[in-house]
Point group: C2
Chain length 359, copies 2
């Protein structure tokens, strides 16, 4: 097992990475004060719930189990209410440790529940998808969706620890593995040119789930994200660079109905659009766009969006959180491995980028 740290002063926490570690009682013990609640979904529960429950119980905790439906559709108020109901029915107090066991949806939902239940309780992330291990479980962003926009209601609430068990990736459906690779590629494209090059050389090993390759990809992604989060916890500056492709991706997800596209798939297509927009703004050349497009394609991910009208895409982007002061803002590539936030992008160029991605 390897451990990294997210350096946030009194809110610093470890990320543990290893195979078969989610049942290790000692990883939870420091955060237990009596009772615990595990939030997971119907797919993950039969696989790992008992092992996590046993780990908590052998540390002396009274454990409440809360199983929510699978899928992005579950990331709304209705499911959140079920979590609150179960916590209150079990008389969970402020000293309860909430354990989020699952992918990005469970992590975002359970993390937000922990952020606002009795004005905030402690929680631990146990991500069981590649996407959650390399991205969503680290950094304290929690949220639920609103019919008018994804992740519109949420909070910054840092976990006490992240326990990334690589063995859970063995059971991950192919499509979700690929969706997770989209975020890994994003980290390379936006932050680390050398890592992007490593991914170009190892994408087949990752798709074949070679443990050594996956370990490096998860660790490097977590390192990159931890450094960004430590520098900018609440996304006032550099942290926004992690949103490469996300302005487009949120529109794709909202326009297709939540759940039709996996988040990683939308980010993949969104990254190609962002790369094309960067090219149209003369920041990068067509060779770099081609590298992004090719790697995404080799990972089995979509390089173009769904058949949405351009006007609809633009309207959906306008409501995006990053549309500060009414202007469209984008994370763009300055070069491969280096991104920046730019505002005041002309709408015709945005349209042209979406069209170019679809070519």
């Amino acid at each position: 097992m390897e451990s990294l740290s997210v350096a946030l002063g009194s809110r610093s926490y470890p990320i543990h990475i290893g195979a078969g570690i989610l049942g290790t009682s000692a990883l939870y013990t420091p955060y237990l004060a009596g009772s615990a609640a595990i939030v997971t979904n119907e797919v993950v529960a039969p696989l790992y719930l008992d092992r996590v429950r046993q780990a908590l119980e052998s540390a002396g905790a009274r454990v409440t189990r809360i199983v929510v439906p699978d899928g992005e559709q579950a990331k709304g108020w209705q499911t959140l209410e079920r979590v609150f109901d179960a916590l209150l029915a079990a008389r969970c107090g402020r000293d309860t440790l909430l354990v989020a066991l699952g992918g990005g949806v469970v992590g975002d939902l359970a993390g937000f529940a922990a952020a606002v239940y009795q004005r905030g309780i402690a929680f631990v992330q146990v991500p069981t998808t590649l996407l959650a291990q390399v991205d969503s479980s680290v950094g304290g962003k929690t949220a639920i969706n609103h019919p008018r926009g994804k992740n519109m209601i949420g909070a910054f609430h840092q976990p006490r620890a992240v326990i990334a068990d690589l063995a859970t990736l063995d059971t991950l459906p192919e499509r979700e593995l690929r969706a997770g690779l989209a975020e890994v590629i994003k980290h390379g494209a936006a932050l680390d040119r050398a890592f992007f090059g490593w991914l170009e050389q190892n994408i087949e090993k990752l798709l074949a789930r070679e443990r050594g390759a996956l370990t490096h990809a998860v660790r490097r992604s977590c390192e990159l994200k931890a450094a960004i989060v430590a520098a900018d916890e609440r996304e006032a500056g550099p942290r926004a660079l992690l949103n490469l492709g996300h302005t487009f991706a949120h529109a794709i997800e909202a326009g297709s109905g939540y759940g039709a596209w996996l988040h990683g798939e939308a980010v993949a297509a969104g990254m190609v659009m962002a790369a094309e927009l960067s090219r149209l703004l003369k920041l990068i050349g067509s060779d770099d766009v081609a590298r992004v497009r090719t790697l995404i394609s080799r990972a089995g991910l979509p390089v173009k969006g769904p058949p949405l009208a351009l006007d609809e895409m633009l309207a959906l982007m306008a409501v995006d959180k990053k549309a500060a002061k009414g202007e469209l803002r984008f994370v763009l590539l300055e070069r491969l491995g280096s991104a920046s936030m730019r505002g005041g992008v002309d709408e015709p160029l945005v349209r042209a980028a979406i069209v170019a991605a679809a070519q």
Copy 2:
């Protein structure tokens, strides 16, 4: 106008106290970055909404007005959803300033909306009731109710400023003035024996709304609360002392159906129960209990709870947030003007205190 400060490092903020100040544009200007949204209720809107809107517009802001129903029943998810809908429909971004214009319900609801809308936006409290001016608008506690318990879902989210306009108290219904006095009395009983004595001498002036007496009561309450909040923002320790009477009060409110009792009324009766419990634990004498009971009675506030079965009261208290590790915890009076938190109180004594309060 007088101004105090709540000292919370980078999150410090001023409390402005004065008559006729809610329309002063300069008090909002430092926090405006383009757009603003005012959340208020149907009763307050006709009285003050236009003046606040004009103050914001003359500072150059685009203003969205959101009017919610009046009353404790509105402090739930359904109303919160209306606020989110209106903010999203108006395309309010992360730079929006939310202004909470109203009493405790509007402040708690709008404050929580600000805490979680797009993971947190800035807000200003403009309290228009005595209760909100002396208590709920200061300190960053925000929340909505859950059918299983009051304030169960919430966040700590400090306002950028509190603008307490004493002129709004002129239009306050008598019953709400009294409910606000309950929290003023609480500050004296729990924290400041001299202030409690001052209240005993000036309660008639306060009930007659003499501006000088009200100014002193609001300022001293805000000073006491600001000091406590600065020492303990997230209620890990001394801040809990502000909850004198609240374990009983929450049970009274939940058992009567939210809204039947005003929060201040429940706190008043809860304080008498807490005083009786302190006496049964031999912390204070019956003379101090009598002073608490008499002052509350002179303020026109209830000294005993609603006709709830003792078992129901106890069951409702057990789910309270302060029931840490399954044991009942209470804020008790060590002497008049000094409180402490105590756990492990025997249930028969709690029952006896509720009965004694009703004598």
